[in-house]
Amino acid sequence: MNVTEANSVVLRKLLIFTVIMFGFGFALVPFYEKICEVTGLNNLLQADTLTENTQVDTARWVTVELDANTHGLPWQFKPLQSSVRVHPGELTQVVYEVRNNSDREINGQAIPSYSPQLLGKYLKKLECFCFSKQVLKPREVRQMPVQFLIEPGLPDDINTVTISYTFFELGNDNTVSLDISASQL
């Protein structure tokens, strides 16, 4: 084999390797989702399960402020009560109301956000409208519950927390990943 041929062999191998690595970049997407699912990180679309019977800490009160926002879609979105006082460990239900102010059917997805950030670790949600996409017909009004408890492990210095939801509009071509997650419910 002369040098030119040997060079072409190396060239071919390296080009194939490059293409594989390009694919690898995309393969990281399902890999990342799988890791998040297996480890329970970043679990936005699935209900939490309570592994053990949590004791209600009746000696302590935590104020949960409820917040609602919309991002670029013509919906009116608000909680029916602006805040609730709960005991850590106590199962609580709150209700949000959403109204489609437009004359077209719109798909929306709510994304939760917690303050302080630490709350995410202690908040267990058994039911939430944010686990699936919401489809609202023109002028439709819907009341949607959130069922949650705050684990008693929440650090003592935290007395007030905020749970916030923001609705984003989904196109009709909303992603496969969301559909899969929603169908698992």
Binding site: V3, V10, F17, T18, M21, C36
Partner: protein, 526 residues
């Protein structure tokens, strides 16, 4: 460079076009190396002007010179231009000039692809810089182009994405060329373990490039489709995850910082033995250390993301893996020091830059270990401490090595000795002003000054003023470098084939400047 052209050895079969066409169509590794180096210098000045505008704005608290939107564009573009336009092409330029001459090959393996790799760069640079004139301006979300900002920006972002695609393609082609040249075209007797250290570091760097550059291409392609074609890779509302971008980006990004430093290690490993008049201490351990650094660099990416949300186990893994890199890096630093130990040292400009490199890169390495510690990193994330850290490894690391290498090989490339006095001035001015500009940024960062913000609290005013003075001094010193290089190209004392007494590698067996086609008959290495 005219000097090279004038000394062409006439070959009957060679008919070179002249003028612009010579450079446009050249497949000669020396021509292409020269073009890479000039391109990189122009980009260095471009990025430098952006840096000085940033520093001018930060000279005093308050907003004086640029508005915040433009300031953000400047910080972003300064990073992109310096990394992809200045540092990386400079090292490819060195590889083009030196790798064939150091392994006794007549040229690069794929000469036409080599031409193509270079000529992709100017259009990419125009596209990148042209984004300043797009509606909405240049990318302004930081050089790491994190979503959601990078998904929301104007079409300047699309231009930058295409520029990154093209720059990536150029890097990959360059790397394939370098790997093939090194693997297949070594002179008889030049075994892998006899190769000069610079060639070894570039072999490993080129492998890193083909490993991670395609991943970056994938990441920015996903950004592009998120922006324009309704996919939701990183769009939380559509089920995507912006943090995933950070993982994919840093899977590229961390090896990338080693892509920018390994060839610098190689250059320093050539300079130190030459001016110590001793062979490199621990050659094989140097090779293994370089390979270990490259492998480790692929498993530490998330240390850039300690504050992005990560389980403690993950933080601990990435913290320990990162600190582990200090071991092979330490091997290298001690080997360089041991090479100098009891050597007959002399301190010409390349050696000054190499020693400056060892001092300051080690300092930057130590602040890197500090940043690797999770609790400290959470404190210093996105502060000027990080800015100080990576400028110590990239400016006084990569860039000082580039300067050292340029002075080291200029006599070989041009056939003339450069002006030693001015070279030394360039070194000492760079050394002084660099530290003036960046050392104080450690203090600013520890005191909590955030990066990428055009204004700051009053207590940071003094250090910022000092830093700005240093930055302008450093920037202006580089014009001296330009003058020294031009003067060297135009004339000067004639350099012998072996420009440096202690130099040993193959390129010094060629006349200075080397003939247009060198080693057409391979040398035999015993």
């Amino acid at each position: 460079m005219a000097a090279v052209h004038d000394h062409d050895i006439a070959h009957a079969h060679d008919h070179h076009p002249t003028g612009l066409m010579r450079w446009l169509t050249s497949t000669n590794h020396k021509d292409i190396g020269t073009m890479y180096l000039w391109f990189s210098f122009i980009m260095f000045l471009t990025g430098g002007v952006m840096a000085l505008t940033i520093r001018a704005e930060l000279f005093q608290p308050g907003l004086q010179i640029v508005n915040p939107e433009f300031f953000n564009q400047l910080t972003t573009m300064h990073g992109l231009v310096m990394i992809f336009g200045a540092i990386m092409p400079a090292f490819v330029g060195f590889a083009n000039w030196q790798v064939p001459m150091m392994i006794g090959a007549p040229d690069m393996a794929f000469a036409r692809m080599n031409n193509w790799s270079f000529w992709l760069l100017p259009p990419a640079a125009l596209l990148l810089l042209g984004s300043f004139f797009a509606p909405g301006g240049a990318p302004a979300g930081g050089w790491t182009i994190y979503p959601p900002l990078s998904v929301q920006m104007g079409m300047g972002m699309d231009m930058a994405i295409f520029a990154i695609h093209i720059l990536g393609a150029s890097s990959i082609m360059g790397s394939i060329n370098i790997i093939t040249t090194i693997l297949n075209m070594r002179a008889p007797g030049m075994t892998l373990m006899k190769m000069p250290m610079f060639v070894w570091t570039w072999l490993i760097t080129a492998y890193l490039l083909v490993l991670v550059m395609p991943v970056l291409a994938g990441a920015v392609t996903m950004l592009l489709t998120d922006r324009n074609f309704g996919t939701n890779f990183f769009n939380a509302a559509g089920g995507g995850d912006p943090v995933m971008f950070q993982h994919i980006f840093w899977f590229f990004g961390h090896p990338e910082v080693y892509i920018m430093i390994l060839p610098a290690f190689g250059i320093v490993s050539e300079i130190i033995p030459t001016f110590s008049r001793k062979p490199l201490f621990g050659y094989s351990s140097m090779v293994y250390a370089t390979a270990s650094i490259a492998i480790l660099s692929c498993i530490v990416w998330a240390h850039h993301m300690f504050t992005a949300g990560m389980p403690v186990t993950g933080q601990l893994f990435f913290m320990y893996a990162t600190m582990l890199i200090a071991v092979p890096t330490g091997v290298k630093v001690f080997n360089w020091t041991a090479t100098m130990w009891r050597g007959s040292m002399s301190f010409e400009t390349p050696m000054l830059f190499a020693i400056g490199f060892i001092f300051l890169f080690t300092l930057g390495g130590f602040s890197g270990v500090v940043c690797a510690i999770v609790p400290i990193d959470i404190q210093v994330q996105d502060t000027y401490y990080v800015i100080a850290h990576f400028h110590y490894v990239l400016v006084s690391g990569a860039l000082f090595a580039i300067f050292g290498g340029a002075y080291y090989w200029l006599p070989k490339w041009t056939g003339h000795m450069y002006d030693e006095t001015l070279g030394k001035w360039h070194f000492w001015l760079s050394m002084f002003f660099f530290n003036l500009a960046f050392f104080v940024q450690h203090f600013l960062g520890l005191a909590g000054m955030p990066r990428r913000i055009p204004d700051y609290a009053l207590q940071f005013a003094d250090f910022n003023m000092i830093s700005t003075i240093g930055a302008f001094g450093f920037g202006l010193s580089q014009l001296l470098f330009l003058y020294v290089v031009l003067k060297c190209i135009r004339g000067g004392a004639k350099s012998p084939a072996k420009s440096w007494e202690g130099a040993t590698s193959l390129e010094w067996t060629l006349p200075s400047p080397p003939p247009y086609h060198s080693f057409e008959t391979p040398p035999v290495i015993r």
